[in-house]
């Protein structure tokens, strides 16, 4: 164990007893005294081992309890994080949905104006006898509004998620850089 040990006293006592054993000239009285000393030291060591083991086990229990509490807090935190992400997703979807509806509405108005101003006179000229053609064209525009809105919604959502992922990637990269900097600082 060398010269530096937490059991230095005990090792010293053991060494003394070993040295005593190497002698051949001890009397009965000396032997008895040495044995008594050895028993006392042994008894003290056993008491120490008992108490240290007991305390160590108890503190291990405390450590386990702390770890359990920490794990539970982490789980709660992860759950809350998931809920937060879900809410953010829902908010993003709602926001994008509203924007897509507005865009599609403007496009529909545009198409309506175009059909009224530009196409209507041409259609009237081409199909003088059939008033339903113009009506059918407007009907097509009206039917296309909903799928158009869905398409715009999906496209914009896809773009928003892409942007979100890129932001997360950047954040992770920043974190990695910060960790490396911290490590370097520690080394220095």
């Amino acid at each position: 164990m060398g010269g530096q040990s937490i059991y230095q006293n005990e090792l010293d006592n053991l060494e003394q007893s070993k040295e005593f054993l190497k002698r051949n000239d001890y009397s009965q009285m000396e032997l008895q005294l040495e044995f008594k000393k050895l028993v006392e030291n042994y008894e003290e060591l056993v008491d120490q081992v008992k108490i240290i083991t007991k305390i160590s086990d108890r503190l291990q229990k405390k450590l386990n309890k702390t770890n359990d509490a920490l794990e539970s807090s982490n789980n709660q935190l992860a759950e809350l994080n998931n809920q937060l992400n879900e809410t953010i997703d829902q908010l993003t979807e709602a926001k994008i949905g509203r924007r897509a509806s507005t865009i599609v509405l403007f496009i529909a108005i545009g198409l309506f104006v175009i059909s009224e101003v530009l196409l209507e006179p041409i259609i009237d000229d081409m199909f003088k006898d059939n008033a339903f053609v113009g009506l059918a064209l407007k009907l097509v525009v009206a039917i296309l509004i909903k799928p158009g809105e869905d398409f715009a919604n999906k496209y914009m959502l896809k773009q928003a998620r892409k942007k979100q992922m890129e932001e997360q990637k950047e954040k992770r990269a920043d974190k990695k850089v910060n960790k490396k900097v911290k490590k370097k600082r520690k080394i220095l």
Binding site: D47, Q48, I51, K54, R58, L59, K61, K62, L63, K65
Partner: protein, 127 residues
């Protein structure tokens, strides 16, 4: 004789042993990488302090957590305090624990039993 003051760290406890007042404070967390190196000056200081024959010593121990080898050294410190008692010094150990920390309270009781020193086991509220 000088006071013994060791700043506490994340791994070692704060030690403040005051010669004049006889108050020996040991606070914090004790998980040193090398317990021998950390506690040897503490034990040596106590050995030297015996010669000062103080009238009274109050050891205030407030540990949040300590490792196995530290538990051995705490026992050694208590053994040294027993020497003071034998020499005629009035010795009191105040063992502090956070009110929910059942383990630390029981540990104090164990040290009280094994050391044969008068203990006050004192709870305090979490900060």
């Amino acid at each position: 004789m000088d006071n013994l003051i060791i700043e506490g760290t994340r791994q070692t406890p704060e030690i403040n042993f005051d010669v004049e007042s006889g108050i020996l404070k040991l606070e914090g967390r004790s998980i040193p990488e090398n317990t021998f190196e950390f506690f040897t000056p503490v034990l040596n200081w106590l050995d030297a302090y015996v010669n000062s024959s103080p009238d009274k010593i109050v050891a205030k121990i407030n540990l949040e957590y300590f490792n196995t080898s530290s538990s051995k050294y705490i026992l050694e410190i208590l053994k040294k305090l027993k020497v003071f008692k034998v020499e005629g010094t009035e010795v009191l150990v105040e063992w502090y624990y956070e009110e929910d920390d059942e383990e630390m309270m029981e540990t104090g009781e164990d040290y009280e039993d094994v050391s044969g020193l008068p203990f006050e086991i004192i709870s305090f509220e979490e900060e």
